[in-house]
């Protein structure tokens, strides 16, 4: 467990157990000092400083974050987790995360975010880079619960994060799972660059917006290697006066023969003042590629609510049950204890959205 408060890493525990396995897990500020070769080789190699405005800002000012290196053939003996919190007023958080999984290694990383209530807006502009070598697997799970602002849309975090993973080696796999319930505005597209042949990218997302929140999230799957595969499952839930957008790009480059993508985007609307938007881009430059996109939009139907209430559930419990059912395909990708947490968070985020 690594905890980052206001961009300063305060504690990294279990370091001894990890050290025995050869896993390096430490604040990135220490990694710069103790493992300069690794940092120099990989930092900025997936998200270059010129990538976008917020990545440039982060690259210029970041002070800390988490660093993880899993050596060749090692299965990381525990789930690694980092907990982020913004405490200070009128400040930004610019943490940097770098995870390297060497050939044949496996690692699962969890990230949780919270921030206390503030009237003014705060900026979170993180950069996360993942590198998976041959046969390596990285599973990266996020439960994001930054302060969303009040019911009138005052305050809240601007969550502008650049997350990208590179599947450098053959048969490598990077899997992003996110549950996004917080922040006033979220712009976030955890992506996979599928360079290695037969490499696999996955993106599982639940984004909930209520009141005046705006979430614009999705992924980019860049198919470069042969027979690369990607799966995108996005569940957007909008309530109140919020807007929830899935924005995604599946790009198949000429060399990526036999590339496969499957995308499923489902939107659930609660009430009649919210919006759900789906903006899928598909660019295929290889005739052997197969790209599928399915999308649905639905409302929680009155007859579903009545059915649940006739069985004894309160209206709020009924909404939670239906929403959790709607998100099941994504929540089951989360590590067990996180899934329970995420379910509770969904309930809290949608409190008072019905009736």
């Amino acid at each position: 467990m690594d905890a980052v408060f206001d961009s300063v890493s305060v504690a990294t525990t279990f370091r001894q157990t990890l050290k025995k396995a050869g896993v390096i897990f430490c604040p990135i500020s220490e990694a710069v000092r103790d493992h300069p070769d690794l940092v120099q080789q990989y930092l900025g190699s997936v998200v270059p400083i010129s990538d976008n405005f917020f990545a440039a800002l982060n690259s210029a000012v970041f002070t800390d974050g988490s660093f993880c290196y899993v050596p060749r053939g090692v299965r990381c003996p525990m789930e690694l987790s980092t907990y982020f919190r913004i405490n200070a007023r009128s400040t930004g958080q610019f943490e940097r995360t770098l995870i390297i999984a060497d050939a044949g290694s496996h690692v699962s990383y969890l990230e949780g975010c919270t921030a206390p209530m503030r009237d003014e807006n705060q900026l979170h502009a993180a950069v996360v880079e993942l590198i998976a070598h041959e046969d390596a697997r990285i599973k990266y799970s996020t439960v994001q619960n930054w302060y969303p602002g009040d019911a009138e849309g005052r305050g809240g975090i601007y969550n502008f994060v650049t997350k990208r993973g590179a599947c450098r080696g053959a048969r490598s796999k990077i899997s992003w799972t996110q549950v996004e319930t917080g922040s006033a505005i979220t712009w976030k597209y955890p992506s996979c660059v599928l360079e290695g042949d037969d490499s696999v990218g996955e993106f599982y997302s639940v984004a909930v917006t209520n009141n005046h929140q705006q979430a614009d999230t999705g992924t980019k799957m860049m198919h470069i290697g042969k027979r690369t595969k990607s799966t995108i499952v996005s569940k957007g839930i909008s309530a109140g006066k919020s807007n929830n957008t899935y924005r995604g790009l599946v790009r198949v480059l000429p060399r990526a023969s036999g590339a496969r993508n499957y995308t499923q985007c489902d939107s659930l609307l609660i009430g009649d003042a919210c919006g759900a938007h789906t903006v899928p881009y598909i660019e295929s430059r290889n005739p052997t590629a197969k790209v599928e996109h399915e999308a649905t939009t639905s409302k929680i139907a009155d007859d579903q609510l009545f059915y649940c209430r006739q069985r004894g559930l309160s209206e709020e419990d009924a909404v939670n049950l239906i929403v959790n059912g709607f998100c099941k395909d994504v929540l089951k990708e989360l590590p067990m204890e996180f899934a329970v947490e995420a379910q509770k968070l969904l309930a809290v985020s949608l409190e008072g959205s019905v009736g």
Partner: protein, 249 residues
């Protein structure tokens, strides 16, 4: 005991129920028969608290509780169960999870202790077995991908697990083959006892061969036009609704 007095109800200003008087004492099973559009389903929905219906006059009490002022979930907690004519699908929601959440919500509301997952599964599996239903019924998502018959059987399974004191079956027999019909009937008959009453809404007499009612009522034009014993269902089968309603008028 269910007591309905002078009940009028409308949907979108269109009057449907036009003065229903009906008493179902505890321990009795009553059948309500009637042609399409006579108000049978409306009665079921009004008693269970569906919002689309406006009660314009009259009262309905169950064991002294004024049903018409209660939320649907509060009515459920007093022991009222509606087997839906068209059971609703809940994608991603497992049947067992749904039923345990419902049962515990009811128990909480009655001040009883909640059942944990193990205790609940024991009860649920026993009921599933007793009703000769496949055990995967509990694992599947609520009514998703169920055939028409399976949906109706699932209603009966839910009823068996929730153990209501007043069950309203809204055309639970429609679309069932004879084997499924028997399962539904067995489910109701198993619950029969001094602390259970039922209102069975049906078009056809055949369900009443398996669940023999204490009383039969004929509903037409939003009113009960005739009441009698089980033999009334047979008479109805012979004369047809038109004949009987003409006689009653």
């Amino acid at each position: 005991m269910l007591e309905i007095r002078g009940l009028f109800a409308a949907i979108e200003d269109k009057p449907i129920l036009q003065g229903i008087d009906l008493t179902v004492p505890q321990g009795e099973v009553h059948a309500i028969m009637g042609p399409n559009g006579s108000g049978k389903s409306t009665l079921a929905y009004v008693l269970s608290g569906r919002e689309d219906y406006a009660v314009t006059a009259g009262s309905a009490t169950f064991d002294g509780h004024d049903l018409l002022t209660m939320e649907p979930e509060a009515r459920a907690a007093t022991g009222l169960f509606l087997a839906f004519q068209y059971p609703v699908e809940l994608p991603g929601v497992g049947n067992a999870n749904f039923l345990r959440t419902a049962l515990n919500a009811q128990r909480r509301s009655r001040g009883d202790s909640e059942l944990d997952a193990v205790q609940f599964l024991k009860v649920a599996r026993a009921e599933t077995k007793r009703l000769a239903m496949p055990e995967d019924m509990l694992r599947r998502n609520v009514n998703v991908g169920f055939s028409g018959g399976e949906k109706k059987r699932n209603e009966v399974l839910q009823m068996a697990i929730l153990r209501p004191r007043l069950a309203i079956l809204d055309e639970t027999d429609s679309g069932l083959d004879i084997d499924a019909l028997k399962i539904v009937a067995d489910g109701v008959n198993a619950l029969r006892g001094p602390d259970f009453s039922a209102l069975i809404i049906t078009h056809y007499q055949r369900l009443l061969d398996h669940i023999v009612p204490d009383h039969v009522h004929v509903l037409a034009g939003g009113r009960i036009v005739r009441s009698g014993g089980p033999e009334l269902a047979h008479e109805l089968e012979a004369k047809g609704y038109a004949g009987m309603i003409a006689e009653a008028a």
